[in-house]
């Protein structure tokens, strides 16, 4: 009985909200808000390192964000990808289990998320990634509907800063003239912590990273 009540409340609420949402016509609806966060290790990343990015969707009541799985005869799945030409590779996305319910509109069982969902995007720095404060760009294409309204699909791009340091171990050992001085070592340590690097007081030398 308790369940019945909860279901009744949820259904009535969602119906009421769906109807309320209808009153907002004429304005561009934006019921799904996305955010992106990088989980970076304390030490700055370099080529080959792995890290994760959390992509979160906050979904307004009554709206469905469809899962990343293809649903024949169903809505277009949500697609997540890294923008091309970046020094990062996307590994296999970890998606939480979606809700599954028969959708009278599509006539099939659809997979979708409500309220909020966070996708974990395991990433790898490409081996040849140049040093610098890169912006990792994630592209999301999604369709969203309620029981009574569909919005145009959206293609959005979100960015998060991911600093990458150089392949220190390799490049600083050679040639002899580029051996680390204490000042260079100190600066590398700062760089690794993503902190502002003070200028170094030595003449610029060809082939060095800083200066």
């Amino acid at each position: 009985m308790k369940l019945l009540f909860q279901f009744a409340q949820a259904a009535a609420l969602s119906a009421a909200l769906a109807v309320c949402a209808l009153a907002q016509e004429g304005t561009q609806l934006n019921p799904i808000k996305w955010s992106l966060k990088a989980d970076l290790p304390a030490k700055a990343l370099r080529g080959g390192d792995k890290f994760t990015v959390q992509l979160t969707a906050e979904i307004e009541e009554g709206w469905h964000l469809y899962s990343t799985e293809e649903m024949p005869q169903g809505p277009k799945p949500t697609r997540i990808a890294f923008a091309p030409n970046q020094p990062f590779e996307l590994q296999e996305i970890e998606s939480p289990a979606p809700q599954k319910e028969f959708d009278q509109n599509f006539g099939i069982e659809t997979e979708f998320y409500v309220e909020s969902v966070t996708f974990t995007l395991p990433a790898k720095v490409k081996p040849d990634a140049p040093a610098g404060a890169h912006k990792l760009a994630v592209q999301v294409r999604f369709q969203t509907c309620t029981e009574s309204l569909c919005l145009p699909p959206k293609l959005i791009k979100l960015e998060v800063e991911v600093p990458v340091r150089d392949q220190v171990g390799i490049r600083f050992r050679t040639p002899e003239s580029q051996k680390r001085t204490p000042a260079v070592t100190a600066r590398l340590a700062l760089f690794a912590q993503n902190r502002i690097i003070p200028p170094i007081n030595r003449p610029r030398q060809a082939g060095t990273i800083f200066g």
Partner: protein, 525 residues
Amino acid sequence: MTGKPMVVSCMLLCLSLAVLLTTVSAQPPMTPDRKAYSDATKIKEPDKKIEAMEKFITDFPKSQSLYSAHQVIFETLVKNNPDQKDRILANANKALEKAPDFMKTYLYSDLANKLFDAGIMLDEAELLATKGLAATEEELAKQAKQRKAGYYATLGRIYLKQGKLKEAEKELKQANEFNPQLTSVLIGLAELSLKQNNEKLALNYYADAAVSGKMPAESRRQFEALYSKSNNGSLNGLEAMLDAKYNKLYPHPVKVEHYAPTAKRSNRTVLAEVFTGSGCPPCVAADLGFDAMMERYKRDEVTVIMYHLHIPQPDPMTNPATQARAKYYGVGGVPTYALEGKTSSGGGSRENTQSFYDRVNPEVEALLEKAAEAELKLDAAMDGATIKAKATVNNVKSDSAGLKLHIVLAEEKIRYTGENGIRFHPMVVRSVAGTEYGGFAVTAKDNQTFEWTFDLGAISAEAKKHLDEYEKAGHRGEPFTFSEKKDQIDPNNLTIIAFVQDEKSKAVLQSTSLKVKRQVAVNTR
């Protein structure tokens, strides 16, 4: 336990209020029935409240709020006149009878709890709760069948691939019984029939799948090859066969009664502008609901026009003119419809068509009693592949400086099966007159005439260019191919619509329409 019925009750009230709020904020005038109901809910004195609700029920026997009124009377009696058992029960029964199906299970629970909390009529409360439980079980069983169908379908297709035809047949037929809409099952059954050398049955299953709107291109090719083989190498008659199949499988879900003008009927022709998408599942209820209105009303009572948009899927009936009108109204999603320029949104599945119609139709009827604020005379003549339209505006009542006359060219019926399964699309807008489809400024109160020539060849070419470019660019980042491009216009199937609109308030002052004939035609409103 005491708090729960209140919560449910609040939810139900919220739902009713939300419906009312929609009407208010979505602009259409509050219909007389909703106003009467709303006024009655505000009365505090129990007897007077019951009296007002009973009057509302007598005055508006077809109102959507009827069940809510019975519910309010029930609640008021339970609280204030618990001895009037027959009256309480009669209102409980009426509330249940008039409530839409999706509300019934909640209502049973709500009514039973009201009685339980008041400590009265426990036998009746028991009956209500028992019936509510049975209705819920029935609903859950239906849902379970629909979910199971997917698994039977998968199993059946696996067996089919493995060549286990007997097992495949069993599972696919079970899936088909539980959910006849599953296209993958219909295709599976067609393939199975072919393996069993029954081409006639295969054709039948393929045809069922074809009218669902969800048939993959490869299956369509197999279907056409099979049809052609059985038809002396020709596809002649295929679409007519599918038309018949569609009409049989998907009968119109609304029972229509022709409109009988009331004493208050004005000289207004109500204009309904519908923004829709052939790949939009919840547009089905709106599309079919307005179809029903086209049947209910005569041409000089209501004019419906449909603007197709690429929402949420690419729609081959979209063109720059439909997109311009969507931009003008700020259409965020589909379905959205404007009644005399006042927009609302929201539809539903085919099963929701009747409730959509019942919700919107009273608004149309109220508008039919509102006097027109201009007069329109529309002439149209077809000469080869061009249509010359001439509209004269008279007797303008508005003083607004932003009045415009719009002339629209619509194709009365286009056959196209999109992803939402609708096969026949009525009154599809092909073009809108004026620079950037923006109409013409109305600057005089009387006798201002506007002329516009619709060049069918140019309109067709513009539609094709739009569809080609859209296909090339991809649908918001996703490559796709139109199964058909509906850029060709049937010159024997056209209507011209003219309306005067206040650009700022978007209110439509008057509209008229005229079927285009090859000889000169005239219509006056």
